[in-house]
């Protein structure tokens, strides 16, 4: 195995255990890992933004357009998106960067307004169509679902009816303009029961999700505790535990002594 792979595993195991040290309490090891994580994320995002978006989609095409306009031949020929229209995103991108210059940072609002206005306008018709109408349709019809047998027809139709009742009941629960009394109060309470089942299901699934992530980490730590990786997990576990004990000793010894009662 290449040396860089072994070093990588030791670093990964060490950082994993440093993050897990939070289970004891917040400590300098966890804080170190947390800030290192933020720094690496920012650096990665910066590299990605340049190499995968700004350079191939803006800088390189515009450069090629400028070269082509001067009459020089370029290989490969200009693509469909490589036109002078790229000046528009260039303009808004430069405006966005004015955010770093306090005197003219107000110019960046034009870029934000462009993004938000376009996004909002685009989303309204699609959201109405996909999330409102397409969801209302199966709630209201078909009312009788024909299954393969009489039993499945009865079950499917009853389920469809229960879904319709449930949607109305939950929507009514959130309608606070009407007082939840009498019939309305009863229907709203039915809505609560539907929501409790849904949230219980969500809770059960959430437990599964979080434990699955923990299982994946434990699988990796176990793999890294093998001889192949020079018992990385075990040695680093002892080291982290030792450091936590040391921090605790330092914390206790640096506490001011309690004054004796007179």
């Amino acid at each position: 195995m290449p040396a860089i792979e072994i070093i990588g595993v030791w670093i990964a195991a060490g950082l994993t255990l440093m993050m897990y040290s939070f289970l004891y309490k917040d400590n300098p090891l966890f804080k170190f890992g947390e800030h290192l994580y933020v720094g690496i994320t920012v650096g990665y995002a910066l590299c990605y933004a340049w190499f995968s978006i700004v350079w191939p989609d803006l800088v390189k095409p515009l450069y090629r357009v400028i070269v082509a306009t001067t009459g020089k031949s370029i290989e490969p020929p200009l693509e469909r998106y490589e036109t002078w229209w790229l000046v528009i995103p260039l303009f808004f991108s430069i405006l966005m960067l004015t955010r770093f210059l306090p005197r003219i940072s107000w110019l960046s609002r034009w870029s934000f307004a462009f993004i938000m206005g376009t996004g909002s306008g685009m989303s309204i018709p699609y959201v109405v169509s996909a999330s409102l109408f397409k969801q209302m349709e199966p709630t209201l019809r078909p009312f009788i679902i024909k299954g393969t047998t009489t039993t499945t027809t009865l079950v499917d139709t009853t389920s469809a009816l229960l879904i319709l009742i449930g949607v109305i009941a939950v929507l009514l629960y959130f309608f606070f303009s009407l007082e939840h009394k009498g019939v309305i109060g009863g229907v709203a309470r039915l809505g609560i029961f539907y929501m409790m089942v849904a949230f219980g299901a969500a809770f059960g699934y959430t437990i599964m999700a979080r434990e699955s992530l923990a299982i994946a980490r434990v699988q990796e730590l176990i793999k890294w505790s093998s001889r192949e990786y020079y018992y990385a997990t075990i040695i680093l576990l002892v080291l982290v535990a030792g450091l936590l004990a040391l921090f605790e000793v330092i914390r206790i010894s640096s506490r001011p002594p309690t004054s004796p009662k007179s």
């Binding site: 920012v42 995002a45 206005g117 909002s120 959201v127 709630t139 929507l171 849904a198």
Partner: protein, 226 residues
């Protein structure tokens, strides 16, 4: 004004099948993608500014901001150095580094490069571990807080327990009906409740979009003078 014009334009665009309308959609979505990339740079710049200010003012915990900068410089140099080697010193390219040939000439975010190594060996484990810690805290919370105090809470608890059993093979082994009950719970009451919530969210998002278009909602522009 810009938000209003673009917003109305693209609401109308949805209903216009003409080629100009479709071309406008194509080009503007491409431009948004490019501006989004620059926005990443702006976001990163803001974070750098905050931590730099912490170090400058020597506030409590400023040392950790130094750790943040260390991580930043590490990942930036891992991404940029190979590109510089390719540009200025291509002869230095295919050297072996700690067992891997030519790693110093894989620029940017390409797999097999130094930045990819930093991502897989440092970012990956820390990110995964942070979220997995919740698994432990959920168990503690389940013991302390999950009480059947009322009918509603009991209903929630029963649904949660059935789902937890049904999501593993053990549920089907204990009783063949558990997977079917779980499927029904998800397909009927859960669907009904979540659908009603979707309606509420959608109506809210339409209202917010209209507020942005008509200039009533301006918090996204940030504070400060015009």
């Amino acid at each position: 004004m810009i938000a209003f014009v673009m917003g109305i334009l693209f609401i109308i665009q949805f209903f216009v099948p003409h080629q100009w309308s479709q071309d406008m959609l194509t080009w503007v979505t491409k431009w948004l993608s490019i501006i989004g990339g620059v926005t990443l740079l702006v976001g990163a710049g803001s974070l750098i500014h905050i931590h730099y200010a912490k170090i400058k003012r020597r506030v409590a915990g400023w040392g950790y901001s130094g750790v943040m900068f260390f991580g930043l410089i590490l990942s930036l140099s891992a991404g940029i150095t190979p590109a510089l080697i390719i540009l200025f010193a291509p002869a230095q390219g295919n050297q072996s580094f700690l067992g891997i040939e030519g790693i110093n000439t894989v620029p940017g975010v390409e797999p097999g490069g130094p930045l990819d190594w930093v991502f897989m060996k440092m970012f990956n484990p820390m990110s995964a571990t942070m979220f997995s810690i919740l698994g432990f805290f959920m168990a503690s919370a389940a013991f302390r807080a999950f009480r059947a105090r009322s009918l509603e809470a009991t209903l929630l608890l029963v649904a949660a327990v059935l789902i937890m059993l049904g999501q593993t093979p053990l549920g089907g082994m204990l009783w063949s009906g558990i997977p079917d009950i779980m499927a029904w719970l998800l397909a009927v009451p859960n669907t009904a409740a979540k659908r009603a919530i979707i309606f509420g969210v959608v109506l809210g998002s339409i209202a917010t979009s209209l507020r942005i278009i008509f200039g009533i909602e301006r918090s996204y522009l940030g504070g400060g003078k015009e």
